[in-house]
Symmetry: C2
């Protein structure tokens, strides 16, 4: 075990698009777990768009970070010291930690990780919070029915890629929006999307949808917002459902963004638009994880992670989310499993 | 019975705000009912904001009118000739007719009118489509719970005034937006609203809501759209419900209106926003009408109609909806009941 610990802290609130000034890497002692806690050597950490919200000094669903707070998020790692009867040194776990070499996790909030089901990074994606978000968001808010056309924005992201595949398992026609040809090919060739639109290459999203979603849109799973969403709203069918999961196009906006008003459109089609936060389904996480694990093992759901190497590159990995650098789930590899703890 | 019949027809599609050019009064023969139809002498006709949508040459929930079509809408009148076993001459009925002295109604689509329950104009308001819209929209989409704060825009209109009172009967705190002091007084003094805001007199809707809806907004029943709606959205509570019933502020817009994007706000509060059309609840109209009738007879729901006299003034009554001339339901008195049919 190393004698010192590196940890990223939140250094400055960004104004608009965040940059490296928001992060500071500090070196200190390896923390000591107290009763009920685990000291975990972090193998992989998760960077997620929602973290941008915690950088704001404004009330939201996730507590805002104070300057100097450690950058926090989901991690996968190996227990090196346990102050809990539930886990022992050597166990692989996932839970809420920090962007650090070593992080202290509450034993009650972690879940065991089974590398025979999937590689560790998958526990931050399809088998983690993003997978559960896709699961509950699509099934509970989107309410897909066989034959429905489901449109997903941010379709090649950690959540969107799982949404589309669950929709396919439910007998839907699935159309995804993504930002590179490589992503589009992954969606259609590997994940079974019926169509995917490279939104950076098409001139008009509505025209593209006319082709890809000829019979209109029954379910829209929105991770993005902005002009893609504006276009999809014009294609909503009677009784359509819109699950508002993310609005990454707007997370860096400095003032309230404006756009076409959507409420007038909702009346004629009686569409339902609902915000979604996976934490609301916490009592059912276990069942969801079990189902997602089965789909992963059976190959019914494919997954992919983009791995950035090195704790020192964690802010870059985070910033890359806003330019769409990731295919599938973006994670950071912190320590090589072959090194000694 | 008169020998001739006056009837308003749709003369020209309006560009933006409609004016008299859209209407033409034609004189012709009194129509003859066919099998299953009733010839009705129209006593009162209804003018409603949704009719603006039918003036557009665009697909919507209500069939667009063609130029030369009769202006159609709900009427209350007396059967003067019946080709149906269900009704006979002298019966008072309500149903879908035309802006005319005499109108032919499908007997299967009309309902009897009982003047002992309420005066005839009420059958176009609280006991007609607007009342049922309020009933289903609030109860099915708004899902009010005791203690909820319910905000209603267009609160002194035909729908809004009933929404607020049903919300009170469900144990809610009710706040209304209206456009004159007289309306505000009616809402608070006669209808039991807890607060009402004259939106033409306050500088900032959000500040006004800070006072009137201190604990935030659980249910928003929107008849209006525009800046009032923008303000209410910033005050939505966790799991809030928004029933989008009307958007009268935008019905005359010539291009797609823009405004603050609302989807980002929905995530943190997981609010549900849903468009609403009363026709979706047609199988339950009878039960709703019965309940509304009981509330009217018991005095638990008050109602008011603004009556414009004379068929020749029907277009004026319709145009007045967009400047908020009406308090409660706007109707047009077509024939005096004391005159001979």
């Amino acid at each position: 075990m190393r004698n010192s610990n590196r940890e990223w802290v939140f250094a400055q609130r960004p104004d608009g698009e965040p940059d490296m000034d928001s992060f500071e890497l500090r070196e200190g002692d390896v923390p000591e777990p107290r009763h009920g806690e685990l000291l975990v050597r972090v193998r992989y950490l998760s960077v997620d768009p929602y973290m941008r919200g915690r950088m704001r000094d404004a009330e939201s669903y996730a507590e805002p970070w104070d300057i100097g707070d450690p950058m926090a998020g989901a991690v996968v790692g190996e227990v090196v010291e346990s102050e809990s009867d539930a886990y022992e040194a050597g166990d692989l776990v996932t839970g809420n930690g920090t962007w650090a070499d070593y992080s202290v996790l509450d034993a009650e909030s972690v879940a065991p990780v089974d590398p025979s089901v999937a590689d560790l990074p998958a526990y931050l994606g399809v088998l983690g919070m993003p997978g559960r978000t896709a699961y509950f968001g699509l099934l509970e808010v989107g309410e897909p029915k066989p034959g429905d056309t489901v449109v997903v924005s941010g379709a090649a992201g950690a959540v969107g890629s799982v949404v589309g595949q669950i929709a396919k398992l439910n007998g839907c026609r699935v159309v995804g929006f993504a930002g590179t040809d490589e992503k589009v090919e992954w969606l259609t060739d590997d994940l079974g999307f019926d169509a995917a639109i490279n939104y950076k290459q098409v001139e008009d999203y509505r025209t593209a949808l006319d082709d890809a979603a000829r019979s209109g849109v029954d379910v829209y799973f929105d991770n993005v917002g902005g002009p893609i969403t504006d276009a999809v709203f014009t294609k909503l069918n009677l009784d359509a459902r819109v699950a508002v999961c993310g609005q990454i196009a707007h997370y860096n906006d400095e003032s309230v963004p404006t756009g076409p008003r959507k409420l007038p459109q909702l009346i004629s089609v009686r569409a339902k638009v609902q915000g979604l936060l996976v934490g609301d389904y916490a009592t059912r996480f276990e069942a969801a994880s079990e189902q997602l694990g089965e789909w992963v093992v059976s190959g019914e759901i494919s997954h992919r992670e983009s791995v950035v190497d090195g704790l020192e590159n964690a802010p870059d990995a985070f910033l890359g989310l806003f330019s769409g650098d990731n295919i599938g789930k973006q994670v950071v590899a912190v320590s090589d499993p072959s090194t000694t703890n």
